[in-house]
Amino acid sequence: MDTQVIGHRTPRVDGEHKLTGRADYTTDWYVDDMLHGYPVPASIAHGTLEALDIEPVLAMPGVVAVYHHGNFPKLYRSPSSQAHQDQVSEVRLPFEDERIHYDGQYVAMVVAERYEQARAAAHALQARYRQDDGARPGLLLTREDGRPMESEGGSRGDPDDAYERAPVKIDCIYGIAPESHMQMEMHATLAQWRDGRLIVHESTQGVVYQHKAMARIFDMPEEQVEVISHYIGSGFGNKLFMWPHAVAAAAAARELGRPVKTVLSRQQDMASGGNRPASRQRLRLAADAQGRLQAMRHDSTTETSFVHPYVDSVGSPTLSLYACDNAAISHHLLEVNHGTPCPMRAPGEVSGIYALECAMDELAVALDMDPLELRRRNYNHEDPAKGLPWSSKHLDTCYDSAAKRFGWERRDPRVGSMTEGDEIIGWGMATSSWTAGRQPCMARVELRADGTVMAACGTQDIGTGTYTVVAQTVAELTGVPLDRIEVRLGESSLPAGPLSGGSMATATTLPAVAAAVRAAIDELKEVATDEDAPFTGADPEGLTLRDGALVDEQGKRVAFAELLAGQKLGSVSGDGQAAPGDEQNQYSFRSFGAHFVEVRWDPAITRLHVSRVVSSIDIGRAVNPATARNQVEGAIVMGIGMGLFEKLDYDPRDARLINNNYSDYIVASHADMPDIDVELLDNPDYAFNEFGARGVGEIGLTGVAPAIANAIHHATGKRIRDLPITIDKLLVG
């Protein structure tokens, strides 16, 4: 498809709003008569709330109410069904009972006139607990393995037998510490009841899901609930599904008859607003002497909370990434006294690929083979998990291109052999991958008499650039310039759109928007060929919309604005929908890429940093190369955090979260940013959708941490299998 706008770099259409402070994030909403809700977190992780001393707090300045187990209104649990789009992050309702399952679980919520009054009262509220022994502080702090999850398993061939008979094998256990999303905007809700309707501003990655979940919980018709999220200070997965703070705010607003805004503190957000669960993964790989994989076995355990069974499917990519006839994955799940985990950027796969790609590096060492060569020798052309051909796979090009730009051929495989001054240079690489998915979606487009076009969809832009790619789609199909296109997202009353998650939003939304544009153009043609219209009697099929004007085969052109005005019409509109179809039975869809990483290691002071990352990623068509590249570059920065810094620290004695803030939980800063060179291959995947776009949000993160770990091994000879690879491990390891 020869395109004018799609596939071309353009500044974000919402850019000026974000750059001038006008973008209305949930936290920025203020309404008349608004109260502030401030949750009171439990200070134990395992036990029972015995008493709350409410009276003194009620007497504090500005305090309007304190909600807790004793007085919180009875509500209904959401069925939390993905199929019905009412999934929630934690099925347990706030204040449902007096059991405490994790540090930071809300035991009450103070509602006050002003923010500082609410916070002061929340701090003043005295709670008495009975702390139980035997808190489970985390998967990696115990030897327990939890219960088997048969649905997460899978196998082909006879991996055990093949493993036993193969000449070269490795058997390693990898651990990944629990991580925090650390999205910049904390979870936030503003709930208002107007004439029996519930209107919720929420910082969410899924207005439609929250809308439906709220309707279930408050037992209301869906039409009576509206969820709005125009701008989101990102989410990385922890804003996909609703959390209890939103329910508490909405219930308080109903009880008090006044709007209630609750913005979690960072501490609360980290304790109770989602995390990437820890994983322990055993990888067994076996190869013949030529490096051809004979067996793969990936046995994983992840953790979840006691109130919600979240399964992080870490093993899933192992069955698809390489050619190997004998492969198996299994999964166990262990409840721990943590806040409930949830999807976090490239959920499951980023963890599984970490273990798999480190194991591949270890296998390469065992084979005395270049690690890139090992991957090439096990390249597959179809998805062995599904037995279907890949729709569009160019991983070999990614390997070639990134290796060349990186200078991989100059790599001396001997550990610690490349030096410069005090520093040893280590080079490592890993494969990157994320499955490509699509969901059903609806959209509406209006061509307006003022010459503008409006496109609307009930999805949202979490910072990936959805506003912009929707505008680009409309511009591409109408020829109307971007500055005359209005995109409306982030309202559940708009035609139902997808979650902003799983790298699916672009691939899901654009085909529906395109269908709506075409429907609107068809409507315009009908109008244009009416009696007394410019193209009266013409065959609508012979008309095309070009550069914002209808043109017939003789070259007569009438701008659509002029046409509508002439017909005394304010607008014509079209509804569109799109969904995955039969292509899903013909192909397997997945994106691939490769990261090459250089670390510099100063062993005399145990200082290590990532100095260079070169990546080639194939995501099909990048609808906007600027925003897509930004996603991958940002994911690389996040991957450095995952590899070297990030870890939620729970006290082994009582499972309390110790580093619940932006200082003690360490993410990469400006100064940690390496020299980054990202190439996006441009191979539109038209089998997937008409724009050839597979999505880009997750893939960049996969493969970064293992490439770092592999580079560290090359520099140091230390094989540190537990993330993050911190200074203490480097010193001792």
């Binding site: 701090h123 003043a124 006290d651 082994p652 580093n659 200082s663 360490i666």
Partner: protein, 335 residues
Amino acid sequence: MRSFAYCTADDVSQAVTKHGADDRVAYVAGGTTLLDLVKLDVMRPAQLVDINRLPLDEVETLDDGRLRIGATVTNTDLAHHPEVKAHYPLLSQALLAGASTQLRNMATTAGNVMQRTRCPYYRDASAACNRREPGSGCDAMHGINRMHAVLGVSDQCIATHPSDMCIAMAAIGATLTLEGPDGKREIAFNDFHRLPGDQPEKEHELRPGELITHITLDTPIEGAGAYYLKLRDRASYEFALASAGAIVAVEDGVIREARLALGGVATKPWRSHEAELALHDQPAAVSTFEMAAEAAMQDAVPHEYNAFKIPLARQAIVRALREACRDAENANQQR
């Protein structure tokens, strides 16, 4: 955050009067420690006395060659002050290794001296902490103590002093001028911070209502080289796991004078006289630096998660000394 009253003062005596030696009153300058901890409900002042209007924002060279720094000079201004850059490069380096641009723009010299520990159990009002609540116990002792101290610890407290600036001052040598209800007095910088001992809540030698008005740096060591090395989890905006501030004067390859102070590993800004003794009159060579590092850390006491700090601090010492000697050699060559 809890409510409190607020007033300003225009001069030192007014500030001291308004404070009234009341332990529920706190001075506030930069506010970067105080407000952080009030929000956590760890500090609970009933009133703040704002000292930003006090005429204490000057840096001046005294007749005897020492440098006198006003209490409210910001970390940024101090780090970039021409006298500091020229004669106390260690201080400039240490200041710029601390916190962030914004925090350095806010934080003051005296406030930095009064900085509180980052121990997570100290910062959690519901945890046991002898420093915050005498007699309540120490959750860090057997808890997550990766960031904690290995030097100057007691069985009551192992909290690390977090400052970078103070490490430089400990090495340089300085005098604090204090003013309180009983008038003015002076105290040596290295006597100001207390070891936790059995009274970890007593962090320093300030008497009730006393205010630090100035910090006067000792005269710089002629021809010395200096280097501040901070080892930390990320590259910036992060507290030290171990840091070393070294000042050395080298003549003909022999260390004539050496100062060494350590950060990130001790309960107070840690001047290592043991290391200095090991360096004195010894050749400026790695073997000497390693001896000094051994000497500095010989009394270190590890806990479950922070044993790595002992070898890490040794590494920081050796490298900082090497770089300080190189700096001294460069200075010698230029003269």
